[in-house]
């Protein structure tokens, strides 16, 4: 039987301690029978992470964009870089005939069975949920998915606390993309110039997928939430909890 190929990928601009946790979580992933994975990262202005990877597991992308770490205030150059790196991953998957792209942001820690669950969901686009606190209001906890446009984000979220899979319009951070997405050459992460919010690259991909594949299936799986090391304190808390587990 021919193995199905999954490309695990992310643009990476990350602190080394978090990247180590991230790679550990990927290493612990259970790969279901019949599948084979390949990891490939786009190191964005962070050559210091090369030492954690094999030579065939990365390429470097260096430009003059700057990140404000743990503040997540992005400038237009950051978005453009992300659009490029994520689109490059999709194109690589297309050219090298991958069956899936599993895009996992470099501050996400996955449950070991995450990939298995998402593959079983059998959708064009399916993400695993994570929750993070809003930049503007610490009391608001947000999921990595929403229905439409940015400002609808705050609605219809309570159902997501119940384990299941739910149809959603846009998903980010932990997303498994199927063959119909990979094979469509017009689907990418680049912005459309008549929609400002399409500079958010995940939004651009979702929008294009909805336009180009009218019967698209796009879901969020809430059964095995990922851990999002979004801010410094998230990392500290994770390290404390991890110690307790050990």
């Amino acid at each position: 039987m021919e193995l199905k190929k999954i490309l695990i990928t992310a643009p990476v601009h990350q602190k080394a301690n978090i990247f180590i946790e991230y790679l550990n979580s990927l290493k612990n992933l259970i790969i279901p029978k019949g599948y084979i994975i390949k990891k490939y990262f786009y190191l964005h202005n962070c050559s210091d992470l090369i030492s954690f990877l094999q030579p065939d597991e990365y390429e470097e992308f260096n430009d003059d964009s700057k990140y404000e770490f743990f503040n997540h205030n992005f400038e237009i150059n950051n978005y453009k870089a992300l659009q490029y790196m994520r689109s490059a991953a999709l194109e690589k998957a297309r050219k090298e005939n991958f069956d899936y792209v599993f895009s996992v942001d470099s501050d996400i820690l996955l449950h070991p069975k995450c990939l298995q669950f998402l593959l079983e969901d059998n959708k064009d686009i399916v993400g695993m949920i994570n929750w993070f606190s809003s930049n503007t209001d610490k009391n608001i906890v947000l999921p990595n998915c929403y229905d439409m446009d940015y400002w609808k984000w705050w609605e219809n979220n309570s159902i997501l606390y119940t384990k299941g899979i739910y149809e959603r319009g846009i998903i980010s951070a932990t997303v498994l993309l199927g063959k119909r997405i990979i094979e469509n050459e017009k689907i990418n992460y680049y912005a459309l110039d008549n929609i400002e919010c399409s500079q958010w690259e995940d939004y651009a991909l979702s929008l294009k997928a909805h336009i180009l594949i009218p019967d698209l299936t796009m879901y969020i799986d809430t059964r095995l939430p990922s851990r999002h090391l979004y801010k410094e304190k998230d990392y500290e808390r994770w390290m404390m909890e991890k110690k307790e587990y050990e």
């Binding site: 110039d193 929609i195 400002e196 919010c197 909805h210 336009i211």
Partner: protein
């Protein structure tokens, strides 16, 4: 001969519709082109008498557009009906091998050289400009029938303001409609339509949905607006009255 389909969804006051047809009848048709007209009469049986039997079909539903003297109030049902009719026109043009669709809203009066202007620019999507005071209580705010895009709150945005559109020229824009010439390259793609996009709230504005889909499906194309010979928008009764009393004679 290249074939152009002139079309519109029509729910209109009869006297405005007569002016509209007057303007279409005097349009100059460039050599090598022929036009056909096909209208979707939206709950507007009363307008049949102005058209030949092969120039229309009736589209009936339970919607109505409420018009006050200040502005027009649209419901989701209105938007949905208009999206359906405009999409039907795309399908009609595709099935009948037209080279262009010229979609002209039924309250827009065109300068007679409009079609000559637009065809000569050789664009896949290009509109003729007109200006509208959308709110009669603020008549000094005149806006063109185009914009660059919408922000995350769905608000209309102009990158460099609207002043440039007052100068004669052909300009790239992001979204336009109402007096728009569309080439067969666009409407022969069956994914192109006017229906809302699930993840874009304000795409119930059917022209917005259309332009976003065009940009997505044809990343290489640009959308233009042409500002020579502006059209006239008979948006409310006062516009019509002014048109009849004063402006029409200047157009003759």
């Amino acid at each position: 001969m290249k074939k152009i389909l002139i079309t519109a969804p029509v729910h209109q006051d009869a006297k405005i519709f007569k002016e509209y047809l007057w303007s279409l009848n005097r349009l100059e048709i460039p050599e090598g082109y022929k036009i056909e007209r096909y209208f979707y009469l939206h709950n507007a049986d009363n307008l049949k008498k102005f058209l030949k039997p092969n120039e229309y079909e009736v589209f009936k539903d339970n919607t109505e557009v409420k018009q006050s003297d200040i502005t027009h109030i649209w419901t989701q049902e209105n938007f949905s009906a208009v999206a359906q009719m405009r999409t039907k026109a795309l399908e009609y043009a595709r099935e009948n091998n037209f080279d262009y669709i010229f979609s002209v809203d039924s309250d827009v009066i065109l300068h007679k050289e409009t079609l000559v202007d637009l065809l000569s620019r050789e664009k896949d999507i290009i509109s003729k400009i007109y200006w509208t005071a959308w709110n009669s209580e603020q008549p000094w705010i005149m806006m063109p029938n185009c914009y660059d895009g919408r922000n995350e709150k769905g608000q209309i945005k102009y990158k460099d303001g609207i002043k440039k559109y007052k100068i004669i020229g052909t300009y790239e824009t992001g979204v336009t409609g109402a007096a728009i010439l569309i080439s067969s390259k666009i409407f022969n793609e069956s994914l192109i339509n006017y229906y809302p996009i699930k993840v874009l709230l304000t795409s119930y504005w059917e022209d917005y949905a259309f332009c976003v889909k065009c940009k997505c499906i044809f990343p290489e194309i640009k959308i233009y607006i042409d500002t020579i010979h502006p059209a006239k928008h008979l948006y409310r009764k006062e516009d019509y009255d002014n048109w009849i009393k004063e402006e029409k004679q200047l157009w003759n």
